[in-house]
């Protein structure tokens, strides 16, 4: 029980702590990074850089492991095709990210920073996700 619950909880908590420490739970800072042609705030580049460096090291270890520490097998994305859906979806996501300065992780971490604002964002986000599922179910 503990072995099943603790690792994802710890990973999520580390993730949330990193977001908060890096200032990503403050939409003003995120929008400051996206304001490249105005008063640019480069902080997010350091957050992204730090995370990518650590993960690049983790990716070097992954192929040497027969299986993950707490699971039977690796289950990783393997697609390499570039589709209009990938690019169009990412563009819509980027527009939403720019409008409010929130993406999914910080949106949920911010539930303890500004509960009402974060809850409005997260509810709308889940509604958007559900909408895609609905249209795909019908099509």
């Amino acid at each position: 029980m503990i072995k099943r619950i603790l690792p994802p909880l710890l990973s999520g908590a580390l993730f949330g702590a990193g977001l908060a420490l890096g200032g990503m739970t403050n939409p003003a800072r995120v929008r400051g990074f996206l304001d490249l042609f105005g008063s640019w705030d480069p902080t997010l580049a350091f957050v992204m850089g730090g995370a990518v460096i650590v993960m690049a090291i983790a990716w070097r270890f992954q192929p040497k492991m027969a299986q993950p520490f707490f699971s039977d097998a690796f289950s990783l994305p393997s697609r390499t095709d570039l589709t209009p859906r990938l690019i169009g979806g990412s563009a819509l996501f980027g527009i939403g990210w720019g409008v409010a300065g929130l993406c999914p992780g910080p949106g949920m971490a911010a539930l303890v920073i500004d509960p009402l604002s974060a809850a409005i964002f997260v509810a709308a986000m889940l509604a958007g996700m559900f909408l895609v599922r609905l249209t795909e179910g019908a099509g």
Binding site: T25, P27, V52, P68, F70, L111
Partner: protein, 149 residues
Amino acid sequence: MTILGFPDAAPAAGLGGGILIGLAAAMMLLGAGRIAGVSGIAARATGISDSGMSRSSAWMFLLGLPLGAGIVALMSGGLDAQFASPVFLIVAGLLVGIGTRLGSGCTSGHGVCGVSRLSKRSVVATATFMAAGIATVAIMNGFGLEVLR
């Protein structure tokens, strides 16, 4: 620590936060054998997506996000934050929800986990949402739209 010319930037805290995020994602990869993509995990927890980790693991990860942020907020005596007004939060949330499902990921799954793996799809997705975000803020500022309260 500050950077000359960017008095508001917090590079040391940013790098420290980034390293924690990287460790969290590395733990998910090497521990559970999965990508720490928050949009995918949120869809999995709520039953919007049927594939991925177990639903209980997804919920535990999501629960951890505000828990970790709350601990940092407590230790630092509160965090500065300025949020958009509700109308903008709703519009943004819908776009983020639709976009991340169509685009198969967000800043964490594509931007951190995919880019560090040099996945072609993730590099293209990240370049796309970065460009779209930068363009959106530039256009909104150009029209003098005040978003943050």
